[in-house]
Amino acid sequence: MNQLAVSNSFWSRVSRRLRKNHAAMFGLVLVLGFICAATFANVLAHYPIDYAEDPNMLPSREHWLGTDSHGKDVLTRVIHGSRLSLLAGTVSIVLAIVIGVPLGAIAGYSGKKTDQLIMRSIDVALAFPSILIALLVMAALNRGWSSVIIAVGLINIPIFARQIRATVITLKNQDYVTAAIASGANTFYVLTRVLFPGITGPLIVLGTLGLGSAILEVAGLSFLGIGGDPTIPEWGGMLTEAKGTLTTTIWPALAPGIAISLSILGLNLLGDGLRDALDPKLNHNK
């Protein structure tokens, strides 16, 4: 093989390691599958969202996964549901990153009192089960999917802040950072230009795994009946709806439940694979 043709940058090595990891690739396929389902929902789904027939039909050739208690096609609603679940999960994780990462970086870099203050407040925030915080946010804001997104974003801030703080603390005493400070770089420059590249790895891993839990949390809130507009198909809401007919048929619950599980499984597999591929401590001589 022509060794010279093989790119040897950090990221190309990471992607090569990732491609050798079958579990991670399976996760990637699952994630891409859901992204495709969300993007091409209009093409993939056989029926319009609100098209209704007889309720509670078993799976058949016309309705592959049966119909729900309103007679709507379950497969159609699961495919369309992936839109809201993925979107809500992604936006809330972006929100958590935008707030959590600067907080963690400042806490880790400045140390002392600032660190104490930020980390103590985060400890207080963590002293509550996330669902309680989410419920309070939902109570404060008007009902709607945007409130769900804000709530889920808020409860994920501590996770990012803590991890980024830990990473920054290990990085800030390294020689290249000291060199940057010695050559007159200000704090802002050090944080954004010198330290940030070291943070990207953990951030990608955490973001992938966090997206899984965000999707779970969105579905959980919506399952509890505090989601947004119920006419928009969404997995958690579909499960709540299926609860009513659970004693007679489990079919309407099966598809959204499996969809939630599979998307989280995919993101977990991908996240674990990324962690392994990005970890310089693991010795990869491949």
Binding site: F128, P129, A139, A140, L262, I264
Partner: protein, 334 residues
């Protein structure tokens, strides 16, 4: 050691106090209040003002907070607004034990299961027990509590749900810990009934912690198993049992304890969902209904209970560290 304990306990109380005050203030700053909920869509302003004055909600925030803290010190959490005369301390006295029993049973399932599968996976690394355990753990992490609850209820549809004991039972318990008390007093037929009611919700709640414990056990065991002192132990002819349980696991225990601390918050969150699905009469379902209705006093009381449970179980875990890690003990003493 005593100094450390003192500091940690003080810290715990301060965290709980700050958290409760935050909840107190934030719920009052939220738009909408219980009076508006009660009087419906076309409220008469005078009536609202009268009700607000009666409840003391027209006073400055700081005065309300002071009154709340004073009553709290006397062990009084006030009455429910929605159901006048319902004392919150009485309700919590029944419901907190239900939640504690549920989370305790879930942990009792999760810890041994997680540790056993994790140890097996590490010991037979890259062989079938490893793959089997890790696949199970992945599925365990990925399936949400509320979906699993559905599946369990559908599969075991003959199991009772919705209460802690059958309705025909005459309750003559001294405490509200039905399961614990009947086991301790040797009333095993009663304990069996209680177990039958608790097992499905506890199982649903236990899978995610079990899976996480299993994964962390595996990775920390793998790290420990390659250490020199373990090779020495094996070379000296120590049995499998002795190597794993005597040497490796105690050293792998610290990360496992660490993940447990993180788990407790998640368990309490999971408890809210589990209690909703199985209609378990615990704190989670009580609190959930109260937030919907803006029943201030219940939300405060419930939040206080949850924060207390969380902070003190973490304190307990810190003490476990001291017990597990001899290095810490030495540092603290010297």
């Amino acid at each position: 050691m005593w100094r450390f304990l003192f500091i940690r306990i003080t810290q715990s109380f301060v965290t709980i106090l700050v958290a409760v005050c935050l909840i107190f203030l934030s719920i009052r700053f939220l738009p909408g209040n219980p009076v508006l909920v009660r009087f419906g869509q076309h409220p008469v302003p005078a009536k609202i003002e009268a009700e607000m004055a009666k409840q003391g909600w027209d006073k400055p925030m700081i005065v309300q907070l002071g009154k709340f803290l004073k009553e709290l010190a006397q062990g009084d959490l006030g009455d429910s607004f929605e159901r006048p005369g319902e004392r919150i301390t009485d309700q919590l006295k029944e419901r907190v034990p239900a939640t504690i029993e549920l989370t305790f049973c879930a942990l009792l399932l999760a810890i041994p299961l997680g540790i056993l599968t994790g140890v097996a996976a590490a010991f037979w690394h890259t062989r079938w027990p490893d793959y089997a355990a890790m696949t199970l753990a992945l599925i365990g992490v990925s399936v949400p509590v509320f979906f699993l609850g559905f599946l369990l209820m559908n599969i075991f549809s003959n199991m009772p749900t919705g209460q802690r004991l059958p309705a025909w039972i005459v309750l003559d318990f001294k405490t509200d810990f039905y399961l614990f008390e009947s086991i301790l007093t040797g009333n095993f037929s009663m304990a069996g009934l209680a177990l039958k009611h608790i097992c499905l919700p506890a199982l649903a709640l236990s899978t995610i912690p079990a899976a996480m414990i299993s994964r962390i056990t595996r990775s920390s065991m793998l790290e420990v198993l390659s250490a020199d002192y373990l090779r020495t132990a094996r070379a000296k002819g120590a049995t499998f049992f002795r190597v794993v349980w005597g040497h490796a696991l105690p050293n792998a225990a610290i990360p496992i304890t660490n993940i447990l601390g993180y788990q407790i918050g998640m368990l309490l969150t999971g408890a809210v969902l589990t209690e909703t699905i199985f209609s378990w009469p615990g704190m989670g379902s009580y609190l959930f209904a109260a937030i919907e209705q803006r029943d201030y006093a219940i939300v405060q009381g419930g939040a206080l209970m949850i924060a207390t449970m969380f902070v003190f179980s973490n304190l307990l875990l810190d003490l476990c560290y001291l017990w597990l890690d001899p290095r810490l003990r030495v540092e603290e003493i010297s």
